[in-house]
């Protein structure tokens, strides 16, 4: 009698477990990318321009966290991802501006020191179809990683990643050696 009662319960539990297993694996299998020294130049709603923070891509969401504030958007809403590079002053911000008034040309001397940065530009659409653009800067070499992760999770791009940059050798047909 007890066995008869237990069978349907076990069946429901097994079905639920199977459903969870089928739905979850792709999400857990993806490796998240996080860039802690990123800067959101503009474009994300709810964040100030030039906000510093952590940019991460995980479970189909691009997230930028700056202090207590954060903004996120679904990766599938991204219609274009483009990387670029530039340089910025080694001494930046308000202090950097003040140094320009330093005596004996010291400010100008300081402005010679610059650090290279990567630029990541994304285009995404809101729920009503309106186009948005967001620009991020980050340390050199990080933008390509973020782009790869975004593309892997469903974002689109007008400039595909070059095979050499992605670390994969270009697919070349094997030549058959002539038999003697």
């Amino acid at each position: 009698m007890n066995m008869r009662r237990a069978v349907p319960t076990l069946f429901v539990a097994a079905a639920t477990l199977l459903g969870v297993v089928l739905l979850c694996p792709p999400g857990f299998a993806q490796q998240a990318v996080a860039v802690p020294d990123a800067k959101q130049v503009l474009g994300l709603e709810g964040l100030k321009h030039n906000a510093s923070g952590t940019l991460s891509v995980d479970k189909g969401t691009l997230e930028f966290k700056s202090g207590k504030k954060k903004a996120d958007l679904p990766v599938t809403s991204i219609s274009d991802v483009i990387t670029g590079n530039d340089s910025q002053r080694a001494v930046g911000g308000f202090v950097g501006t003040l140094t320009m008034f330093g005596p004996y040309g010291s400010g100008r001397f300081l402005s010679l020191f610059r650090t290279k940065i990567d630029i990541l530009t994304i285009q995404y659409h809101d729920t009503s179809g309106g186009l948005h653009g967001a620009i991020f800067t980050m340390p050199v070499g990080k933008a390509e990683d973020v782009k790869k992760e975004l593309l892997a999770e469903g974002a689109k791009t007008s400039i595909p990643i070059e095979p050499a940059a992605s670390g994969q050798a270009p697919a070349t047909p094997k030549k058959e050696e002539p038999k003697p």
Binding site: G84, S87, G107, S128, G130, L131
Partner: protein
């Protein structure tokens, strides 16, 4: 003596009528303001000039921000916004880059005269029937302070000023 007095009055009356006439002519010449309650901003095109993606997006976002600040329109629609199709009294801003010179922040700070970044964009304000209501060539520049992207801010400010004057 009496004649001189009459002559002075006569001369004064002529001068006053001439001044009033020129003032009215100036009023007539003053362009009429364009009426629009909503605006849609399209993405800045760069058919002839190669513009980096970050500049293109920065221009687009900055223009939207600055136009929202003007409070001249009830709503500022983005490119692709489906709600814009039903908006009445809509005007569309189409922009095409005609000139772009990427300068150098380092050169600007070291020399103070070289390294300026400038972007020249042909802007058209088009109504729903496709008629161009206003068109201008607007240039955004950064000469001394700030990075190259600051030129996009300068451009957006100038677009907003144009809108303030014309709408």
């Amino acid at each position: 003596m009496k004649r001189v007095g009459h002559f002075c009055i006569f001369a004064f009356l002529i001068a006053a009528s001439l001044f009033a006439g020129s003032a009215r002519a100036a009023e007539d010449k003053k362009p009429q303001k364009i009426s629009a309650s909503t605006i849609q901003i399209l993405v800045i095109q760069s058919d002839e000039v190669k513009l980096p993606a970050e500049f293109q997006m920065a221009l687009y976002e900055r223009v939207i921000e600055e136009l929202q600040k003007t409070a001249k329109f009830e709503h500022v629609y983005r490119d692709g916004d489906q709600a814009a199709a039903n908006a009445k009294d809509l005007i569309t801003l189409r922009s095409n880059v005609t000139g772009f010179k990427k300068g150098s922040e380092r050169a600007r700070q070291v020399t103070t005269v070289a390294g300026a970044t400038s972007i020249t964009i042909h802007c058209q304000f088009v109504d729903k029937s496709g008629k161009v209501q206003l068109e201008r060539d607007i240039t955004g520049k950064v000469r001394f302070f700030g990075g190259n992207l600051r030129a996009t801010y300068d451009f957006a400010k100038k677009v907003a000023k144009e809108v303030q004057e014309s709408f």
